[in-house]
């Protein structure tokens, strides 16, 4: 059976964008944790703002992306607000792509 790595999971999640900001959710720093157990993936993530109209779309998009990975049997995506998202969580690429300042 193929090993599912964290790097592969993040690579897959990079296919999911926040349509308002036009950047993928990994470089936006929205992914808090990733865990794999018995071909089942659990991701904990956040969004840039509570009440985001894209909430369901992005969460379902992340779930769909995880299910695209070879060998994955089930995927769970949990959205949390604590700790709240902050731009300092973004990668350099994310900051330059969205016009967010340096922190």
């Amino acid at each position: 059976m193929k090993t599912i790595t964290e790097a592969a999971i993040l690579e897959s999640l990079r296919q999911v964008i926040d349509p308002e900001l036009g950047c993928n959710i990994v470089d936006l720093g929205l992914i808090y944790s990733v865990s794999v157990a018995d071909a089942k993936i659990a991701v904990v993530m956040t969004l840039t703002t509570p009440g985001c109209p894209m909430h369901e779309s992005i969460r379902c998009g992340a779930q769909n992306a995880l299910l695209n990975i070879d060998g994955v049997e089930a995927a769970e995506v949990e959205v949390v607000w604590d700790p709240p998202w902050h731009p300092s969580m973004m990668t350099e690429f994310g900051r330059s792509a969205t016009g967010v300042g340096t922190f």
Partner: protein, 477 residues
């Protein structure tokens, strides 16, 4: 402590589709918005063809008709359609009834088109009848949004402003109907039998007409316009921006007390100035100054929100919206001038009133609406076509649904058109007004072009397959 919002499990082969808990169907707000855009094109074209409407004194049938085309056809259509979408989203709740909203659309369309046409031919009895149809729609709208507000989990400044706006729009529509009734004569009631219910109804309307005739017609008209313009549109701009500006600039409210006090003061100012305008009292100046103070507090909070923003680069949609907010300040200054007790009643003063109305409806409200349309329409289109594809294929971002170059061009042509038209109207130049409104027309054309681009995605979605398999990632283990 982890505050989990939502999680779910899924298995391969059963791709997940977002259910859009807070959003109503896309067709409903789009129907309102497209109706509004058609009215905007018609209204702008009307001003180009008849520039004297702004270059001469405003109390005539064509000015009233074109004003209602802008206010009801363009602004109300878009604002009400957007509220069906935005209120549930911004306040994290669900729309009470889509069915009522669909009926509202029918009443709204019939009501405003009939009213504009009947104002044009100056048939006030029919204006009243079509006004009743419109009022029925507004009643459904107010009931629907009020029931939606009751579901709001956390009451805040935005919810308070939306609630207040519902109250003021109800009063504005009632005042408009009273004015229409006051201008009608129901001579035909004399021929009706005493027992007929309709005679009682019309008798009641005649009593209303008698009561309203005690007020000065211009004062009543200004008070009615004031309720709609400040009570509904400005109240919504202020309230909604406390939610949307932080959301789109990645910031947050800096002082809840400042936000709340701006809304409370605006409501007090509105109530007082409405009565004083109706009575043509010099005390209206005091309440207008209170309103200016409330807008200054609002501006203070907006500056604080923008200073604390994490997204340094502002997109054009936000620039349109913030420019509209900035124009509230020259508009407020003009309001103070027009309320000055010893202001001479001459031709120039009449023209300043035209500039005030134009700057309010086109400079502030329309610019704010266009800014928000650049957020709402892409969202509606994207949600309809791409929300089920995200994570399964490459989907465009919201900004990729339209041309930002055309959007920027539209901003500058609209700004030039607004500025030019205001100056030309102030000096009663018909040629200048035509030129200014021609520039406005170009700005409107850029908006129509971009909305057209967005709508093409509904017919031909532009998704691309992922570059699977992704490059192999080395396993650190």
């Amino acid at each position: 402590m982890s505050a989990a919002a939502k999680s779910s499990k899924a298995k391969p082969g059963s791709a997940v589709t977002p259910f859009g808990a807070h959003a109503p169907s896309v067709a409903l707000p789009l129907a309102f918005i497209l109706t509004g855009l058609l009215a905007l094109c018609a209204g702008t074209g009307w001003l180009v063809l008849q520039p004297e409407l702004l270059a001469t004194y405003h109390y005539n049938q064509n000015v009233i008709a074109v004003t209602h085309l802008f206010v009801l056809g363009w602004i109300c259509s878009v604002v009400m359609g957007a509220m069906y979408q935005l209120v549930p989203v911004a306040l994290e709740t669900k729309l009470y009834s889509e069915r009522l909203a669909r009926w509202h659309f029918v009443f709204h369309l019939v009501g405003f088109t009939g009213m504009v046409w009947m104002f044009r031919v100056w048939n006030m009895k029919q204006v009243g009848h079509f006004g009743c149809v419109l009022a029925l729609g507004v009643g459904l709208f107010v009931y629907n949004i009020a029931r939606t507000l009751r579901r709001v989990p956390k009451w805040n400044a935005t919810a308070t402003a939306v609630g207040a706006a519902l109250f003021w729009i109800s009063l504005a529509v009632s005042a408009g109907l009273f004015i229409a009734v006051a201008k009608c004569s129901y001579d035909s009631t004399e021929g009706l039998a005493a027992a007929q219910g309709v005679r009682t109804l019309v008798g009641g309307l005649r009593s209303v007409a008698g009561f309203m005739s005690r007020f000065d017609a211009i004062g009543a008209m200004h008070a009615h316009a004031h309720l709609g313009g400040v009570g509904f549109f400005t109240m919504l701009i202020v309230g909604v921006s406390y939610k949307l500006v932080p959301m789109f600039t990645l910031s947050e409210i800096q002082s809840k007390r400042r936000a709340a006090s701006s809304i409370v003061l605006l409501n007090i100012s509105l109530a007082g100035s409405f009565v004083m305008l109706l009575l043509r009292s010099p005390w209206k100046l005091a309440f207008v100054l209170l309103g200016v103070a409330s807008l200054a507090i609002y501006g203070w909070e907006m500056v604080a929100i923008l200073r604390a923003r994490k997204r340094r680069t502002l997109d054009w949609g936000i620039k349109y919206f913030l420019t509209a907010i900035g124009l509230l300040f020259p508009l407020s200054a003009l309001a103070v001038v027009l309320c000055w007790p010893v202001l001479p009643l001459n031709v120039f003063t009449g023209q300043l009133e035209n500039v005030y109305g134009f700057l309010a409806l086109v400079g502030v409200v329309s610019l704010a609406i266009i800014g928000m349309l650049y957020k709402i329409v892409p969202f509606l289109v994207w949600f309809s076509r791409y929300s089920s594809q995200i994570g399964r294929a490459q989907v465009p971002s919201l900004a990729e649904l339209y041309s930002t170059r055309v959007q920027a061009l539209g901003y500058w042509t609209l700004m030039a058109g607004i500025g030019w038209t205001c100056m030309a109207a102030a000096i009663s130049s018909g040629v200048g007004v035509r030129l200014g409104c021609g520039l406005l027309g170009l700005g409107v054309a850029t908006l129509a072009f971009n909305v057209g681009l967005m709508l093409t995605h509904l017919l031909r979605p532009k998704t691309k397959p992922f570059a699977w398999p992704t490059p192999p990632v080395p396993n650190p283990a």
